[in-house]
Amino acid sequence: MLEISGLHAGYGAVSVLHGVDFTLHQGAFLGLLGANNAGKSTIINCLSGVVRPTSGHIRFEGRELTGLAPHKITDMGLIQVPEGRLIFPQMSVLDNLKLGGGTKRAIAKRSDEMERVFALFPRLSERHTQMAGTMSGGEQQMLAIGRGLMGQPKVLMLDEPSLGLSPLFSQIIFAALKKLHEDGLTILCVEQNLNLTLAYSTSGVVLERGVIAVEGSGPELRDHPITRRAYLGL
């Protein structure tokens, strides 16, 4: 469904990705793992069109994505929930969600989708008039995911959804992702938290020094020496 091949990218003179290849299949829940600064966000931002790759290809349902503007990519159904959540702080929960469902592809289903988001995260329903910026980190993560879902994603990409959250909230978030996956959503989840991700995802790839060092199922990856090296620098 989403094929990444030979992806190179960087910032100015610094190159970060040195030929990344992997494929996200329809219905997968893929963990994109790697240590801090490995280049995970750079990959996901290339996919969203926020960072321009220097070379390589990204194909989504057969269409080349490189060079497309971010809003075009989102409107195709490839939707990112960004690192640090980036909710709209001086807007209500409701307005945040409405904005997420404001694209051409999503607007007709906006109120139905809102019900589904509220069913997934009842906390958002309770707090729907609250200013988003005054919510806790975990609640903001729920909102960021809800806002992404409002856009009717075919693929939902999350960048470190557990970052800065308590273990309890991390579990709630991942349980919600698992439920979405079981309902048929394809998920790409960038994470540093190895064990949490492997417990919920169907497979994973490990990024090390700008290339995919190893890929496989959860148990394969957990004890793989390359995974350990990528994380611990062993």
């Binding site: 709209f88 702080p89 307005d95 409405k98 404001g102 999503a106």
Partner: protein, 286 residues
């Protein structure tokens, strides 16, 4: 007492137009983080455009706005697309310099085209007066005030209660996330610039009846817009409207009680005091 009421009402009515000009500046600031120091010069361009339309088609300013509004919208869009967008968000200081440069270009172009003499454009209601008690109200000022009030209210409602307005606020609060949820951020910015400059065409024809214009007036209008925006708390439209009325009223009262030229300084003194003691604007809750 009559004199006081006279000055107060006149100041408040003028303040309505100040609000409109300031809203244009605020809306541009809110989506781009940039203060347009050529704002007053764009207002003057709007006024001279109305003058040119009057010269060539003999149209009343109130009608010529149908022509000058789209022209000014295009100018605003062009300003963003061809100049400011290229600078990017990281060069705010350069953007400020650029708008200052534009201000000089605009002023000198007007000077070359229309000369430096103050000009008046006649209008149907120019000399109409209204008597409320013992207070004389000039009809064009009344029209200007209510038009400005209506437009500001429409601005406010659009921004807060429509999808288009939510998009503008999203771009203002978190542009990166706005792009990721499918908002065409450059387009929103372009349209906001178009509207922020376009509204000056409307403000221009509201000011024209009974007011003279000269190319050198631009800076004064820029300063009025700037202090109104800062008083209002930069992006708080209600605050900006109230701030504009305050400035209009204080200017008018000070001119009456302190003396002509010295009185013009009072709003600026008030502004400096507010910036020192309430830099977050008059309405901001803390």
């Amino acid at each position: 007492m009559d004199l006081f009421l006279q000055a107060l009402s006149q100041g408040i009515l003028v303040g309505g137009t100040y609000a409109l000009i300031a809203l244009g500046m605020a809306v541009i600031f809110s989506v781009s983080g940039m203060l347009n120091f050529a704002h007053g010069d764009f207002l003057l361009i709007g006024m001279y455009l109305a003058y040119a339309v009057f010269l060539s088609l003999n149209l009343d300013p109130y009608l010529s706005v149908l022509i000058t509004f789209p022209v000014m919208c295009l100018a605003g869009a062009g300003l963003y697309v061809f100049l400011l967008k290229r600078l990017g968000a990281s060069h705010l200081l350069m953007a400020v310099q650029l708008t200052l440069g534009l201000s000089f270009i605009a002023q000198n172009t007007l000077l070359l085209t229309f000369g430096g003499e103050p000009i008046r454009v006649p209008s149907v209601v120019e000399t109409d007066l209204l008597l409320v008690g013992n207070v004389i109200i000039r009809t064009p000022q009344l029209i200007a005030f209510f038009a400005a009030l209506l437009l500001s209210a429409a601005f406010y409602a659009t921004l807060n209660f429509t999808d288009a307005g939510r998009r503008v606020r999203a771009v203002q609060q978190q542009p990166r996330a706005a792009a990721l949820i499918g908002i065409n951020v450059p387009l929103v910015r372009t349209l906001t610039f178009a509207l922020g400059i376009g509204v000056l065409a409307i403000a221009a024809v509201l000011i024209i009846p009974g007011t003279s214009m000269a190319p050198a007036h631009g800076l004064r209008w820029t300063v009025i817009a700037l202090i109104t925006v800062v008083l209002g708390g930069m992006t708080n439209f209600v605050g900006i409207f109230i701030g504009a009325l305050l400035i209009g009223a204080s200017e008018s009262l000070a001119t009456l009680y302190v003396s002509g030229t010295l009185g013009m300084i009072v709003p600026y003194a008030l502004f400096i005091a507010l910036v020192l003691f309430r830099p977050e604007g008059i309405l901001k809750r803390t």
